[in-house]
């Protein structure tokens, strides 16, 4: 594969007929309930229109009818592969609205779980995308490691998915005994596994020829389209909110931002694999530097008192009752808080009107915005390249439709 990896316009014999084909909403290669209306000239995609909204469940509207702490499980279910990120975006926004500082241990635990979730999300992406490209065994290998992460989630939070682990003020409970050991086992294992995935795919002729030089979108165009995350970094733009903005424990962590050079599907694959290794490094540092202390803030106006206090302290009982029945009130204001999710910038915009329910919760979901670049990636390429590009775009339709 020594030839230049730049995209050349395809020269095909003129076809007379353009055929409009509907792909989805339930096609397995669409990774969710995405429908594509594609104009085909022979096997070349000439025009493409994504049709979305099939799993729209009105989560943003429902959030307006729930007290602040009850919104957390709702928002988790938007992008169902990166649920910790949704929780962090929402809880972080509410904490900033009420001016609540979270304790250092909670910052580190959140960082740790976010990075575990990033690996989990990238594993789901790698397994399903390689499956689309014909490398079926990758799915089983990736889901083997993913299951280990889910085991860790279950151990710490009681749930494998949609954990509701992050709370306004910190995390709901400390990591259990034995968690650290299991996690260390996992982080020792993970870089080796990433190497194995690379060994399987990097010398796979089919995989290489289907990813190299396909789906290129210039960096400037990606920025115009608001694309963020691995897609943008694969085009050579080292933009990562973990470095750019100061949130959680990321300023104290040492990690690199992997970038690509050409911006084709192969670079997108390489960037994500490298990100997994960087995430492992962050987890390791977070675990080594995990500060002692409380795992949740000690502000009884926003955080539930410990269970043990309820039988001895009347005040705690009142706080508990107040928080569980009415919830806490947030002073009027609005705020946009953004974090780096596995797919790019995940922003949460919350408007508070002084009551115990948010007046507006909006999520700027990276899948939704990045999907706009799909037309640029796929038009004037083969249908098969379109499938590869869609996989590398990695949209989660739960996040797109909300």
């Amino acid at each position: 594969m020594a030839e230049a990896r730049t995209q050349t316009p395809l020269e095909v014999a003129p076809q007379t007929e353009v055929m409009t084909i509907n792909i989805g909403p339930h096609h397995p290669a669409t990774h969710g309930v995405l429908r594509l209306v594609v104009d085909l000239e022979g096997e070349i995609v000439r025009e493409l229109r994504p049709v979305i909204g099939y799993v729209h469940t009105g989560i943003e509207k429902s959030c307006e009818d729930k007290s602040y702490w009850k919104v957390i499980p709702f928002v988790e279910r938007m992008d169902y592969v990166s649920y910790f990120f949704q929780m962090e975006a929402y809880c972080g926004a509410v904490e900033r609205l009420v001016g609540l500082e979270i304790p250092p241990r909670a910052r580190y635990l959140r960082t740790l779980f976010l990075e575990l979730n990033r690996i989990h999300s990238h594993l789901v992406w790698l397994g399903t995308t390689a499956l689309d490209l014909g490398a079926i065994s990758m799915l089983w290998y990736c889901f083997r490691e993913r299951d280990k992460i889910l085991d860790l989630f279950e151990m710490a939070t009681g749930q494998r998915m949609h954990t509701r682990y992050f709370q306004v003020g910190g995390v709901i409970e400390d990591i259990p005994l034995g968690f650290e050991e299991k996690l260390r086992e996992f982080i020792a294992d993970m870089p080796v596994r990433v190497g194995q995935y690379q060994a399987l795919l990097d010398r796979n002729e089919i995989f290489l020829s289907r990813t190299k030089g396909t789906g290129i979108v210039p960096r400037e165009r990606l920025l115009e389209l608001g694309v963020t995350g691995p897609l943008l970094r694969a085009a050579g733009e080292p933009w990562d909110l973990r470095k750019a903005f100061d949130y959680l424990a990321y300023p104290e962590m040492e990690f690199k931002i992997p970038v690509g050079t050409v911006g084709d599907n192969y670079d997108r694959y390489r960037v994500r694999l490298a990100e997994m290794v960087e995430s492992v490094r962050i987890i390791e540092q977070a675990l080594d530097g995990l500060p002692e202390g409380p795992h949740i803030a000690d502000d009884r106006k926003y955080v539930l008192p410990p269970r043990s206090e309820l039988s001895t302290s009347m005040e705690s009982l009142i706080h508990h009752f107040k928080l569980v029945t009415e919830g806490f009130r947030v002073p009027p204001g609005e705020l946009y808080y953004s974090i780096e999710c596995p797919r790019g910038e995940l922003g949460c915009f919350v408007v508070a009107d002084g009551s115990s329910k948010p007046a507006r919760v909006h999520f700027r979901d990276p899948s939704f915005v990045n999907l706009q670049a799909f037309r640029d990636m796929a038009v004037d390429t083969y249908v098969a390249d379109m499938i590869a590009s869609l996989g590398m775009l990695d949209p989660i339709l739960g996040g797109v439709d909300r």
Partner: protein, 177 residues
């Protein structure tokens, strides 16, 4: 984020070319915002994007909110980002509800589309139209994006009830319809 004098400077420079464009500036939870006259929105956005020394070239997010019962009722927010200086600024265009003025429930608030300036706004403006009924003048394809095309109503408005829509199952239709 520009600091307070920086924000006033921005305001002053915009006012020089476009008097009356900026209605208010301020900080909310350490985030700078400019409240602008919706009629001159595009002028302000263009200035923030292209004026030397500004360079807010990246539109992170575009969203709307309904501040009922406040007046003006709606606002469209543009979260602009300068990636070189890592500064965010929020441009807020407040829109009155024309239906409250002329009594015609069909009339919708209108604002200029910024798709020409920021192509990323295309989906997001459609989303705002879909949920709030805010019309973006000049948008290439202003149709509903997440809701069905034949949907009636603007569900993210605060006066639209949660659960206000009956779920129609064939069983219910047959027996109780």
């Amino acid at each position: 984020m520009p600091d307070a004098p920086g924000l006033e400077l921005i305001r002053g420079e915009i006012e020089q070319d476009h008097p009356g464009a900026v209605l208010d500036t301020g900080f909310e939870h350490e985030q700078a915002y400019l409240a602008v006259d919706p009629g001159q929105l595009l002028a302000v956005l263009t200035w923030l994007r292209d004026a030397p020394g500004q360079g807010y070239r990246f539109l992170s997010s575009l969203h709307a909110a309904d501040y009922l019962p406040a007046e003006p009722r709606f606002a469209v927010h543009y979260e602009l980002l300068n990636r070189d200086r890592v500064e965010r600024i929020r441009v807020k265009a407040l829109l009155a509800d024309p239906a409250a003025g002329d009594g015609n429930a069909q009339s919708l608030p209108e604002i200029d589309s910024c798709v020409e300036l920021f192509p990323t706004a295309e989906f997001q403006e459609r989303e705002v139209f879909d949920f709030f009924g805010i019309v973006f003048r000049g948008h290439p394809d202003l149709t509903r994006i997440l809701l069905p095309e034949d949907y009636v109503g603007w569900p993210q408005r605060r006066d639209f009830p949660v659960g206000g829509e009956p779920v129609t199952f064939t069983f219910n239709e047959r027996n109780y319809g």
